[in-house]
Symmetry: C2
Subunit: 133 residues, 2 copies
Amino acid sequence: MRNYSKQREDVLNAIKELKNHPTAEEIYGKVKENNSTASKGTVYRNLKNLVIDKKIIKISKMEGPDRYDLVNYPHYHAICASCGKVFDFVYDFDVENIRKSLKKQIGENIDINDFSLQILCDKCKNKLQKNKI
Amino acid sequence: MRNYSKQREDVLNAIKELKNHPTAEEIYGKVKENNSTASKGTVYRNLKNLVIDKKIIKISKMEGPDRYDLVNYPHYHAICASCGKVFDFVYDFDVENIRKSLKKQIGENIDINDFSLQILCDKCKNKLQKNKI
DNA sequence: ATAAAAATAGGAATTATTCCTATTTTAAGG
DNA sequence: CCTTAAAATAGGAATAATTCCTATTTTTAT
């Protein structure tokens, strides 16, 4: 594993400090607050690299910018399609079996980095019911 | 269930015609090609509504705009964090059990609309190995 | 020590998404 | 069938998010 550049560490540290799924913009802000030289391009590049390296994952919602979260303990995200609320949860997915199944279907021995669930939360379910959407 | 507006159907039809995970822009293009009056705002609004209604799902990658796919048969998506390649796959997730687990953890009886996997495909794994990233 | 490869700064350029207002359409009630 | 309120839309401006570009710096490999 190649050593992280100063800037990549700055990005990772910013996420650690921010907590609660910051956006790229918020991360860039924190990075600058910490007097890192990292430019916006560098932040985006390193967010991608950190995702590839499984240090962080990206959380995408139906609205607003993408968000990022540390991979510090094994948890996943369930994201409401309607209101965008993100629920952290733990679950023991049978990763090995899923990987085998994928191997069979696509012929590749991929690595599984993350699961995410798109859901409808109670509040939104009720509201949609009421509005008959 | 409220009837779909003409425009919402136009958006859904555009996705059906396009196949292969079109972007909002591509969908808007197709919608216009089909002489729908739908504006861009309408396309985005209805993409969200169609996701909430489980007619389509959104696919988010590490780069490029979000993409959409029909929920026509039960399949999920595994997305390479590095190259963005999307693999369709079928898997029998134990939805009921996952839902129960979520109920216990977050106290809500959410609906699960979709699963998605963030992965590293073989090609990218090898390239990263080679480059020691 | 040196050359090649990779990463960065700085910010411009582009692209994606949201938002706004006036208008039109739909739903509900009498 | 009217009437009114709520919801959805058109059109496009405004905003926000992301990518891209060039010159420079840093790292890696030899």
